[in-house]
């Protein structure tokens, strides 16, 4: 098989996938009576036309990237973390708590402290299902989802009680939100709302790459995740690494919450988690559970999420429909990836292609 053929094969399959995804999405748009080409332009290209738009895409990519990198650590260690949503909420709470408690501590100390608190908050929330699975074999699908509920309600409760902005009580408006956090926990901004969290996300991705592929800890985690039995026979304490990986995963989700607060909202409000915890699972898988795949994947998803907020105002397509289209696109791309990784299929096509060429000669 020639190198040229292999590249051509990839290109053709990806092109076919793209065409079929566009076709299916177009049918849906056509059915609701929307302008197909305008909608595509708005979702896919419009966000890339202006720096303002790009920065909005990036601020959505930042939490996705941090969460997905954390999820990839857990996944590689043999545990599926779908509790990032709750872990992020706990990170938000911890971050807000530190910021409200020590408003006068100078920024070089307070910001790292608050971020660390968010990691600990999320980390504990991740460690619980990890240790439950390691010691008692409790399904993480059950425990993480239940902990999501608890965290969401706890977050909601705190916003209405201990964290509630005193001003809200004075005016009696009662919006459940904290007061504006002290400037000492703010992350600086680069342009528009884009904050320095982006650098943090990239650095963390590289660190996780190093952890997983360049250290003995990552080696043991991957061994536990690939074949727990063989890892145990090889003297690796699988349960320990399971719990550690979940703590790391939770800490990353918590940190994503802290970064989001420090960079974007700067006060705890409802809805900050914005389903990032669930989208993070998709981003992690989509990025091949590898930090360097997750970085572009989180950008793509940031684009899709932002595009769906533009569509209703620009072309009158509801955000729900955009989400349907996203679903289609993701399924098609994942399918195409599976086709590409099927070497038997590739080989068959190669032989058909050779047979065709022989006939021509």
């Amino acid at each position: 098989m020639t190198r040229g053929f292999r590249i051509a094969f990839r290109v053709v399959i990806m092109a076919l996938a793209a065409i079929s995804a566009i076709l299916m999405a177009s049918i849906i748009l056509w059915m609701i009576g929307a302008d197909v080409s305008d909608t595509f332009y708005t979702i896919v290209f419009e966000p890339l036309t202006k720096m303002l738009h790009i920065s909005e895409v990036l601020i959505r990519a930042i939490p996705l990237c941090i969460i997905a990198v954390g999820i990839s650590v857990a996944y590689r260690s043999g545990i599926i973390n779908i509790g990032a949503e709750g872990q992020m909420a706990m990170g938000l709470l911890a971050f807000t708590g530190v910021a409200l408690a020590f408003p006068d501590v100078p920024r070089p100390l307070l910001l790292p402290l608050a971020l660390l608190a968010s990691m600990i908050g999320g980390g504990i929330w991740g460690f619980i299902p990890g240790i439950l699975k390691a010691k008692l074999n409790v399904s993480e699908l059950l425990s993480t989802v239940m902990l999501n509920y608890i965290a969401a309600q706890f977050y909601s409760l705190c916003l209405r009680t201990i964290y509630l902005d005193p001003a809200e009580q004075v005016y009696g408006t009662g919006t459940p939100q904290s007061m504006k956090l002290t400037e000492n926990v703010w992350l600086g901004r680069i342009t528009g709302r884009l904050h320095y969290g982006i650098l943090l996300a990239l650095i963390l991705a590289v660190l996780i790459f190093i952890l997983m592929w360049k250290t003995s800890i990552g080696f043991r985690m991957r061994a536990s995740g690939s074949c727990a039995r063989a890892a145990r026979y090889g003297g690796i304490s699988v349960g320990f690494y399971l719990a550690v990986s979940m703590a790391i995963s939770g800490a990353f989700a918590g940190l994503a919450g802290g970064v989001e607060l420090a960079g974007v909202h700067r006060r705890a409000i409802e809805g900050i988690t914005n389903n990032y915890g669930f989208s993070g699972v998709v981003v992690a898988l989509f990025g091949g559970l590898h930090p360097f795949g997750i970085i572009p994947a989180s950008f793509l998803f940031g684009l899709l999420i932002y595009g769906s907020t533009l569509a209703p105002t620009k072309v009158g397509v509801p955000a729900n429909i955009v989400q349907v289209m996203q679903g289609i696109i993701i399924i098609v791309i994942v399918t195409a990836q599976m086709v590409l990784s099927n070497t038997y299929f590739q080989d068959r096509v190669w032989r058909k292609y050779q047979a065709l060429r022989k006939k021509e000669v």
Partner: protein, 523 residues
């Protein structure tokens, strides 16, 4: 099938089976390429009525591929299949079933938490009545087939309750129930105990009165005992085919590997040193919470091989796991170079210098999705050789892997290849290489050559003897008496979780061991 009402149903099905009996089956000039491999290279085989063809060859010689082509699982690139001299084309296993071919795979395809009847009903389309499944019809059919062929199975037993040998009978009944008139058996004996093997051979002999059989094997005794004709494959090519009776096992073995195989033997000599592994009164529970080891005591000295003979399931697995810290002991002690290692963690036992070749090479010996080089350092990633601090030394790992692959003749495209994609023999070489490279002070080897071809067995046996030569003690657990008698200095027989007797090699004969293995106490 509707006109079948004129006959009693059971009679009809046999008559119809005879109507379109497979009188001959030929595969001609079959060629099949996989990416980078020529799996079948112009292979031709033929089987006539009532014949048993043994398809023999080393692991990776292309036996299973050829049978998968016959069953329609793969399409051949070239060549044709003829049944009763008519060319046929199978687009999938369904077509092959319809033509009367049935295959029993090496790993059984049964659902553990369903009964025998339910498992068979899965494929028994005749009993599917729109939305209803006629379980009684299936059950009758199971009973009919099992009594006709003398395959005794309990139709209401759950699969998980059955031993491996019984599961295989279920597979046979299933295949026959679905109307097979021609059987293909892929390594039918690889997981059976010696007794079960004998039983199976008798059974298959009886079945040849009505069926033809192709069976894949590399155990030459069975080939001799069962087949009329033998076809030997090597590297995807037929290197020999002829009548089984005209050749000795040795000749067939030589043709299979391309050179004469003489399995090495323990030369004896060497005085027994001090006991380095000393097990006293060890009691261990099985997974089902029954007593697996019952106050077992056994000593192994430096530089000797103690073979543990026994029918599998008498506590061998539990013993190996208890020694390696993988299974909790209820009571007793395991002294290892003076330290009690009972109920220590696997990590601690490994750190004390225990080497271990576990029973399941694919799920216990290696991490299948890890590369060969990663599997080499599975136990030693934190050692000073392979990492400084927490950072791994990639270069050292690569160098050591290259060296080990050469020294142990692991056949692979490169050290980055996933270990799970290798053949059984090569996986075992990877495990052996890792364990020997660690310079263990002792080695526990469990079924080290199970399912391997002669070439690989020869290699592993000679490596084990080399380890013994270097003064390391080995506990060899095996169910192959030949292996145990060839390699051991002393032979211990295990029965129901305790040691029946320990015999010096000179006193051990196959008969005597067999009697002990069956649980008969000697005076």
């Amino acid at each position: 099938m509707t006109e079948g009402r004129a006959f009693p149903p059971c009679l009809f099905s046999f008559i119809s089976a005879m109507d379109n009996k497979i009188r001959s089956l030929r595969m001609e000039h079959i060629t099949k390429r996989f990416p980078g491999v020529l799996a079948s290279d112009d292979i031709s085989i033929s089987v006539s009525e009532g014949e048993v063809l043994a398809l023999v060859g080393e692991n990776g010689a292309g036996k299973t591929t050829l049978m998968n082509i016959l069953m329609g699982l793969y399409q051949p690139d070239e060549g044709s299949i003829l049944i009763n001299d008519e060319p046929v084309r199978f687009r999938g296993p369904e077509d092959a079933f319809r033509a009367g071919l049935g295959m029993v795979h090496q790993t059984y395809m049964l659902v553990p938490n369903m009964t025998v009847t339910e498992n068979i009903a899965l494929g028994y389309k005749k009993a599917w009545k729109h939305l209803r499944l006629d379980m009684k019809e299936v059950r009758d059919r199971v009973m009919e087939v099992s009594s006709h062929y003398g395959l005794s199975v309990n139709p209401d037993a759950y699969i998980w309750q059955l031993s491996v040998g019984e599961q295989q009978k279920v597979e046979l009944v299933k295949t026959l129930c679905l109307g097979a008139r021609f059987l293909i058996l892929d390594e039918p004996t690889s997981a059976l105990t010696p007794q079960e093997v004998d039983e199976l051979i008798v059974l298959l002999h009886r079945m040849t009165a009505e069926l033809s059989i192709i069976f894949i094997s590399h155990k030459l005794q069975e080939v001799k005992a069962l087949s009329n004709k033998v076809t030997i494959l090597r590297h995807g090519k037929v290197v020999f085919s002829g009548n089984t009776d005209d050749f000795s096992s040795k000749e067939i073995a030589a043709k299979m590997t391309g050179h004469e195989i003489v399995l090495p033997r323990n030369p004896g000599g060497q005085d027994r040193g001090e006991a380095v592994l000393s097990i006293k009164d060890l009691t261990v529970m099985s997974d089902r919470k029954t007593v697996a080891l019952d106050h077992l005591s056994l000593d192994v000295s430096a530089g000797e091989i103690v073979g543990l003979a026994g029918v599998s399931g008498n506590g061998q697995r539990e013993l190996a796991e208890a020694i390696n810290g993988l299974r909790k002991a209820e009571s007793g002690s395991i002294m290892f170079f003076g330290d009690d290692i009972v109920n220590k963690s696997p990590h601690d036992v490994i750190a004390k210098g225990m080497g271990y070749i576990p029973e399941e090479r694919n799920t216990e010996g290696i991490v299948p999705s890890f590369s060969i080089k990663e599997n080499f350092v599975l136990k030693d990633i934190s050692s000073e050789t392979f990492s400084s601090g927490i950072f791994t030394k990639q270069k050292k790992i690569d160098e050591s892997a290259e060296r080990l692959v050469k020294r142990f003749d692991v056949r692979c495209p490169g050290t980055g290849t996933a270990a799970g994609s290798l053949s059984g023999g090569n996986i075992q070489k990877v495990i052996l290489a890792r364990e020997i490279e660690r310079k263990p002070r002792f080695l526990v080897a469990v079924y080290p050559t199970r399912g391997l071809d002669m070439g690989a067995v020869e290699f592993i046996h000679s490596e084990l003897l080399k380890i013994r030569e270097s003064g390391i003690g080995i506990l060899l657990i095996s169910e192959e008496l030949d292996e145990i008698m060839d390699l051991s200095d002393r032979i211990a027989v295990i029965y129901k979780g305790s040691i029946q007797r320990v015999l010096p090699k000179a006193e051990a004969t196959a008969e005597r061991l067999g009697i002990l293995m069956a649980g008969v106490k000697e005076e």
